[in-house]
């Protein structure tokens, strides 16, 4: 059983988005971190890298597998969470408190394509 935080938006590829002043704060869901198991490496982009919606921006790695991360919205990376780069296990400890990147959105209307907590719960069957 994984938790789905209320008030966030979710992608079908299990990233979450929290919007603050035109900036999308992006992380992965509790469901995603549980599926991965012990996360040993977080591969992040550089600040100023630009991504299209649903483009691969990084990856999580566990001992056994790697899982690509997809950008839920188009935009430019304005900040990378160096704490999760140094301590990947933080994502396991609390997937919602530990964001991965912040993106300045190019088109806020793309948020309409994301799922709310209720729809995401349905997607993961909880």
């Amino acid at each position: 059983m994984s938790t789905v935080a209320e008030g966030l938006l979710y992608s079908k590829s299990h990233e979450w988005v929290k919007v603050e002043d035109g900036i999308a704060i992006i992380g992965v869901s509790d469901f995603a971190q549980k599926e991965m198991g012990d996360i040993t490496y977080v591969d992040v982009p550089d600040v100023d890298d630009e991504f299209e919606k649903e483009e691969e921006f990084g990856a999580l790695e566990s001992v056994k597998a790697s899982s690509d991360l997809y950008c839920p919205v188009s935009g430019v990376v304005v900040e990378v969470n160096e704490e999760v780069v140094d301590q990947p296990e933080l994502v396991n400890a609390d997937a919602y408190a530990n964001w991965i990147i912040k993106v300045k959105m190019a088109d806020e209307s793309e948020l309409d394509d994301l799922l709310d907590a209720a729809a995401y719960k349905e997607l993961i069957g909880e």
Binding site: G37, D38, T40, Y41, D43, E56, A59, E61, S62, V63, K64, S66, D68
Partner: protein, 365 residues
């Protein structure tokens, strides 16, 4: 694959009861992990863990020509090896490609051998042996479904095996790659982890009882996830990744298990030629100077971007805290310390060629 009927080992219910994450492997539904790969890996390195390896194949060969036949299909030299000894080696195609890598047990009774083969290759191997046996007076008996097998591995393996199976002197005096039979069991000082340990072959019913007894004795149940991280660190190949119909033992650096001074064996001529003329590719170890993980299939490059090979297995090593991999690369860039680069997703990471035995193994002397 999804529609293929997956076989279960005799310990399937035990794994499910323990809450293991189950996944298909080699035609079997197998436990990948219980508590977690890292925890299980460290249990084997520091204490003792056990693996259900009942999926492995057991083929018994007997008959007047058994010794000559086994020596014909096997790369290592079994002549002069006494009863109770075990040899590692390969069965090869005529072109030097590998049918399988396996263990050969020489039984006490003359001209009796047990061949232990990879689960994924049981049917192929059995068919291959039958095909090659024409003209030899041998009986080839595939008993894979009748045997369970538990691998008990780690520095405390000897104590716990003695505690449960008794036969104190026989177990404690057993050398690496030796075995004995007792009470219907085959007790073998072998393994696939780089640690001291035992592989215990038993009937299906006894295997279930042994598993529970080891569990009660405090042995950590371990899945195939850490079996792979452990064997990889110890520099041991996995058929399909580091050995295959396309990757010969010479390419894989396992020439020491192929006795080219033997009178004959299938594939010998090809290996002699490979040894004399070299092979275009060689298997190497690579250390990547980053936490990024080189996974199977990732390209290996030179500084200028020329692709020179591919990763076969890679991890961020649990015991060594380094990102390391096996890779099959052009022989021209296979010598120690050669700078090589691994392309991991969008980036290229520098590294260098290192010895394949990444971890200092702790076998019984």
């Amino acid at each position: 694959m999804e529609n293929e009927v997956m076989k279960q080992t005799c310990l399937y219910d035990n794994h499910v009861a323990l809450g293991a994450k189950m996944s298909p492997f080699a035609g079997f539904i197998m436990p990948i992990q219980y508590s977690g790969i890292t925890e299980e890996h460290l249990a084997v390195r520091q204490h003792v863990g056990m693996f259900d390896v009942s999926h492995m194949g057991e083929v018994f060969i007997s008959g007047p020509d058994a010794e000559r036949f086994v020596n014909h299909i096997f790369t290592n030299e079994i002549r002069g090896y006494e009863a109770g000894k075990i040899l590692y080696g390969m069965m090869l195609y005529a072109d030097g490609g590998v049918v399988d890598d396996l263990l050969v047990y020489r039984e006490a009774e003359p001209n009796h051998f047990l061949l232990v083969v990879n689960a994924s290759n049981i049917d192929k191997d059995y068919a291959w042996m039958k095909e090659q046996s024409e003209g030899f007076d041998v009986e080839i008996d595939n008993q894979s479904d009748q045997w369970g097998q538990i691998a008990v591995q780690g520095p405390k393996a000897e104590d716990v095996v003695v505690e449960l199976l008794h036969h104190d002197d026989e177990i404690r005096n057993l050398g690496f790659y030796e075995y004995f039979r007792a009470d219907g069991l085959i007790i073998s000082r072998t393994g696939y982890t780089g640690e001291d340990g035992f592989e215990i072959y038993a009937s299906v019913d006894v295997t279930k009882r042994l598993w529970d007894a080891f569990l009660t004795a405090g042995v950590t149940p371990c899945g195939l996830g850490c079996r792979d991280t452990l064997r990889f660190e110890a520099g041991l190949p996995l058929y399909g990744d580091e050995l295959s119909a396309d990757i010969s033992p010479i390419m894989a650096g396992l020439g020491m298990f192929c006795k080219l001074d033997k009178e004959e064996f299938i594939g010998k001529d090809a290996l002699v030629s490979q040894k004399n003329h070299g092979t275009p590719k060689k298997l190497v170890g690579i250390e990547v100077f980053d936490r990024a993980i080189p996974r199977a299939g990732y390209p290996v490059e030179l500084e200028d971007g020329t692709e020179v090979g591919v990763v076969t297995t890679g991890y961020h090593s649990i015991s060594l805290d380094k990102s390391i991999c096996f890779a099959l690369v052009d022989t021209s860039c296979s010598s120690l310390d050669t700078p090589l680069y691994v392309r991991i997703r969008r980036k290229v990471f520098p590294g260098k060629v290192v010895k394949k035995r990444f971890y200092q193994t702790n076998y019984k002397k």
